[in-house]
């Protein structure tokens, strides 16, 4: 369960907007990367985002390159989840591998306003706003396991240790 403030954006938010391409090779520290998250789209975001805040966006979120940094910078900026109408496939993978929950729910995207406080119940598959509740199909068990451990690498570490 997470609760946070909504940062709402439109369709086709691409990986260059999420993490500017000009920093690809110059900034590699995740905390430093977080300071530049979404800076070309919304300069206020990285200054004001709080841990557990939620990004709500339109279609094809994360399209463009396969660079992991787009997911990494949002995770380290404190984003608790992203709700979008649809996700670009590679971003979707990268987000889950980084332990950042991604939820597809077009109805909720249409209804949710920028700046409002919402709650997400991952176990029940519910997005709860002040006015109403939206259901989303619960994430597959394998993805939930990865997210619970904080990402793919942490997940394997645990699994490998358990197997010893």
């Amino acid at each position: 369960m997470i609760r946070g403030k909504v940062w709402k954006y439109g369709d086709n938010i691409n990986t260059d907007v999420i993490f500017p391409g000009k920093y690809t090779y110059s900034i590699t520290d995740p905390e430093e990367m977080a300071k530049h998250a979404l800076e070309d789209l919304d300069p206020d975001f990285s200054k004001n985002v709080k841990k557990g805040d939620i990004i709500v966006a339109g279609k094809n979120f994360g399209c463009g390159s396969s660079r992991e940094q787009a997911a990494t910078c949002l995770k380290y900026a404190g984003v608790g989840a992203i709700i979008a109408k649809s996700f670009a496939r590679i971003f979707f993978r990268n987000a889950i591998n980084q332990g950042l929950p991604v939820i597809q729910c077009a109805q909720a995207v249409d209804a949710i306003q920028n700046g409002e406080e919402i709650e997400i119940d991952f176990n029940e598959g519910k997005i709860i706003t002040e006015k109403r509740t939206f259901n989303f199909p619960p994430l597959p068990e394998s993805v939930v396991q990865i997210l619970k451990e904080g990402g793919l690498i942490a997940y394997t570490k645990k699994k490998l240790e358990a197997g010893k």
Partner: protein
Amino acid sequence: MGKTIIEKIIQLHTNEEVSPGKIVWMDLDIRSARDFGGANVVKNYEREYGDQRVADPEKTFFTFDLVAPAKTLKYADNQQICREFAKKHGIKIFDVDMGIGSHVLMEEGLALPNTTVVGTDSHLNILGAVGCFGQGMGDVDITFAFRTGKTWFEVPETLKVIINGKFNYPATAKDLTLFILKNLGTEKALGKAIEFYGEAIENLSIAERITLCSMVTEMGGIIGFTSFNQKRLSELKDFIGKDIEPVKADQDANYSEIIEIDIEGLTPHVAVPFSPSNVKDVSDLRNIKIDSGFIGSCTNGRVEDIELASKILQGKKIRQGVRLVIVPATKRVYKKLLEKGIIEILFKAGAIILNPGCGGCAEGHAGLTGRGEVQISTGNRNFAGKQGKGMTYLASPAVVASSCIAGEIINPNKI
């Protein structure tokens, strides 16, 4: 319920029941990294797993193809990081002399029908040409694959594309591919596997299948599979060096959509800057003067592609002021071109011939375009900045060779 090809291949690699939309844990027969991304994989690996061994060194490979040989200290360092990791873990490297990794994996009989292969190359789904489920991934995914031999994957839906009619020269498999891209755009196949059917598809050579399957990435697809007739099936077995046949879809397999495309009378087509799906008939392009040409890439770097160009260039000269760069896909291709006397024909026509690899297709390697430069290329992407600061048109080897003689984009039947 019957299964499509991708569903069958994934099912062969998991204990979970496969159905579209479901995420399953999938075993990987081959896991690879290129020089680009490879160093990040090594860094991730050593940070997270320390000295732990890779799951299976026999199934793990490095393929250096992007900046081959290294042209800056940074690239040289990155390649060396991979070499040292490979030595420590007993991993084989196909080094900078070998050519495009995806092609090498096919030539070496490592990417086989019905197997699963991942790597840090977004065009790795090219392996669909030999019935193999190849997939490009980010460096965290590949790090994980090195250590465990597995990945998680959402089983995609399958789109069935039926090609009606045949194509003849001057139209080639590249024109077929661009024409399909024109019809599908970047939306219809987004996130899906594609199965291509029809007489023209069944009769494609291996090189032609490679051309088509390489650009499934540009169609937004996960992977493309092509149907074979008997003659082409035996060619496939010769090419991979093994008696293995690709699985077929069940009669009652479930498709998300079936699309028919009529190609009768297909003419040469060109993708205009700055999108591979911005495809036009070559005759609709008038007075497009070119500064340079490029023949190569994972899409059109096979012997047949370069041989076709050589037939057009034989006894002719590239127009003054135009440069033509030719890059064979692999060392094997290069050797064949030497044996057949094709390199000499190209040399005499005035072409620049580089060593095998990805050069010419991506910024970061030899053959960049400068500001204002117009290039005609057999590559697969013409996004702004992909090859440099110029404007790239995508076409077949025949159109590129002809255009380099004419000095402007031209239909090969006019040469």
